[in-house]
Amino acid sequence: MLSFHPMALLLKHEGYPPAVVAAAFLHGILIYFIFYNPVMSRELVDLDEPIYINAITAEQNPQRLRRIQEIEQQRARESEAQRQREQDAANQRAQEEEARQQEAQREADRLEQQRSERELAQRQQEEADAESQRQAREQQRINQENLERDRQAQIDREQEITRQAELQRQQALASRRATADARAVDTYVAIINNTVAGNWDIPPSARNGMTTILAIRLVPTGEVISVNVIQSSGNAAFDRSVEQAVRRAERFPELQDMSTTLFETTFRNLTITFRPEDLLR
C-alpha cells in the first residue's frame, strides 16, 4: 500500500535528493534573474532621480566673441611681424660685418703689398720691425671686432630668451584664466538650472525626450529681461511651461558676483535646452 504512493519515491534517503534538486532549481532561477535582468535595477534607480534639465550655453554673445578673436589674431600677426623684422636686421648686420671684414682683409693685403714694394729698398731690420708692429695692430683690431660681434650675438640671444619666456607666461596665464572661466560658467549654469527646475511645473502632456531651446537675456544684476523660444518641442503646453519656469525664476541673484567680462561673454545672451529625462511616461 505504502510503496505505490508517490511519496515513496520522495522518501528515499530521507527525502534529501528531491530537496537538493528543489533548492538548486530555486536558486538557479534567482541567479538567472541576477544575470539577465538589467532592467530591474534600472527602473528602480529611475524612480528616485530628481528633475534634471540639460542646459547648454550654445551661443556666447557672438559679436563680442568675434571681436576678441580678431584682436587675438591681430596681436599674433603683429608679434610675428616683429620677430621677422628682428631676424632680418640681425641677418643684415651679420652680412655687413662679413663684408666689412673681407674689405678690411683686402685692404690690408693691398697695403702690405704696396708697403713691401715701397720698402723693399729699406733696411731689413726696419722692415721687420714695422711689419711686426703693423701685424700686431691688425691682430688687435680683428680681435676687438670679434669680441664686439660676440657680445652683440649674446645680447640678441638673451633678448630672444626673455621674449620667449614672456610669451609662455602670457599663454599660461590665458589658459589658466580660461579654465577658471569654464569652471565658473559651469557653476553658474548649475545655479540657473536648479532655480529654473524648482519653478518648473511639468505639464501632464510632457514626455521624455521633448526638447525646447530658450534664449534668455540677462542683465548684470541677474534679472531676466526677455525669454524667447528658439526651438519648439512641438507641444505648446510644454513650451509654455518652460517659458513660465524661467519667468517665474525672475532673477538669479548669484550672477551679481560674476566678473563683468564673463557675464558679457557668456551670460548676457544665454541659451537653455530643456529636455526632461526622468518622467515616468
Binding site: 505504502l2 520522495l10 522518501l11 530521507e14 528531491p18 530537496a19 533548492a23 534567482l30 538589467p38 534607480v45
Partner: protein, 235 residues
C-alpha cells in the same frame, strides 16, 4: 554609468567584504531551502501516516492481525515503518514477548511494553525535529549578516562621498545599491526560513501530540488485555 548598471556588475564591483556577505547569505539560503523541502517531505509523510494508521487501528481490526500485516509489509523490499505504526509494533512486540514468559505479572508486562513504546516515541520525535534548529538559526542570523553588509556598504559609500570634491548621487549610488542588495539577500534567506520554522514546529508538535495520545490509548488497551485474561497467550 547608469546604463551599464545591473545587479551582476554590482556584485562584481562590490568590496570583498560585500562579496563575502553575499556569498555566505547565498549559501545559507541554499542550505535552508534544502532543509525546508526535506522537512516538508518528512513531515507530510508523518502526518499522512498518522491519519492512515489511526483509521486502520480504530477500524476494529484484530491487533495481532494488524501486527502481522506490518510484518508482511516489512518483508517487501525497502519499506520502513515509521511513526505511529512503529510505536504500535514496538509496544505490541514487547507485550507479546513478555506475556509468553511464564510467571511474569501483568504490571511488569505493562511496564515493559510502555518503556519500549516511549523509546520508539523519542526516536520518532528526534527524526521529526532533526534540522529544525538550523532553520531557526538561518532565520535569525541571515538578517543580521545582511544588515552587516548594508552598514558596511553605506559606510563605504560615505567614504567615497567624502573623497569627492563634488557630491553627486552617482558617486554614492553604487555603494548604496550594493548595501541594499546585502539586506535583500538576507531577507531572501530569512523569510522562508522563518515561515518554514514556524509552520514545521507547529506540525511537529501536533504530530507528537497525537503520538502521545496514541501511546496512552494503546496502553489502556494493553492494560485491559493484561489484566482481564492473564493466562491467555496471544489474542
Amino acid at each position: 554609468m547608469g546604463e551599464s548598471m545591473n545587479i551582476w556588475s554590482m556584485i562584481v564591483d562590490a568590496t570583498w567584504i560585500g562579496k563575502l556577505v553575499m556569498l555566505s547569505l547565498f549559501a545559507l539560503s541554499v542550505m535552508s531551502w534544502i532543509i525546508i523541502v526535506q522537512k516538508w517531505i518528512i513531515i507530510k509523510d508523518a502526518e499522512r501516516e498518522v491519519f492512515n494508521f489511526e483509521k486502520l487501528f480504530w477500524s476494529g481490526m484484530d491487533l495481532s492481525q494488524l501486527f502481522r500485516e506490518g510484518t508482511n509489509k516489512l518483508k517487501k523490499e525497502d519499506v520502513t515503518i515509521i511513526g505511529m505504526e512503529n510505536l504500535f509494533r514496538s509496544g505490541f512486540k514487547e507485550f507479546t514477548r513478555l506475556r509468553q514468559q511464564p510467571g511474569i505479572d501483568s504490571d511488569a508486562v505493562m511496564e515493559g511494553s510502555q518503556r519500549a513504546m516511549r523509546v520508539a516515541l523519542s526516536r520518532e520525535e528526534r527524526v521529526l525535529e532533526k534540522h529544525l534548529p538550523i532553520l531557526a538559526t538561518v532565520a535569525s542570523v541571515s538578517v543580521y549578516i545582511g544588515l552587516f553588509g548594508t552598514v558596511w556598504g553605506i559606510m563605504n559609500a560615505f567614504f567615497d562621498l567624502a573623497n569627492q570634491s563634488q557630491a553627486s548621487l552617482a558617486v554614492v549610488a553604487p555603494g548604496i545599491a550594493e548595501a541594499l542588495f546585502a539586506t535583500e539577500m538576507g531577507l531572501f534567506a530569512a523569510i522562508p526560513a522563518v515561515l518554514a520554522f514556524n509552520r514545521y514546529s507547529a506540525s511537529v508538535n501536533s504530530i507528537s501530540d497525537s503520538y502521545y495520545t496514541f501511546l496512552d490509548e494503546f496502553s489502556s488497551i494493553l492494560h485491559r488485555q493484561a489484566h482481564s485474561k492473564p493466562q491467555e497467550s496471544e489474542d
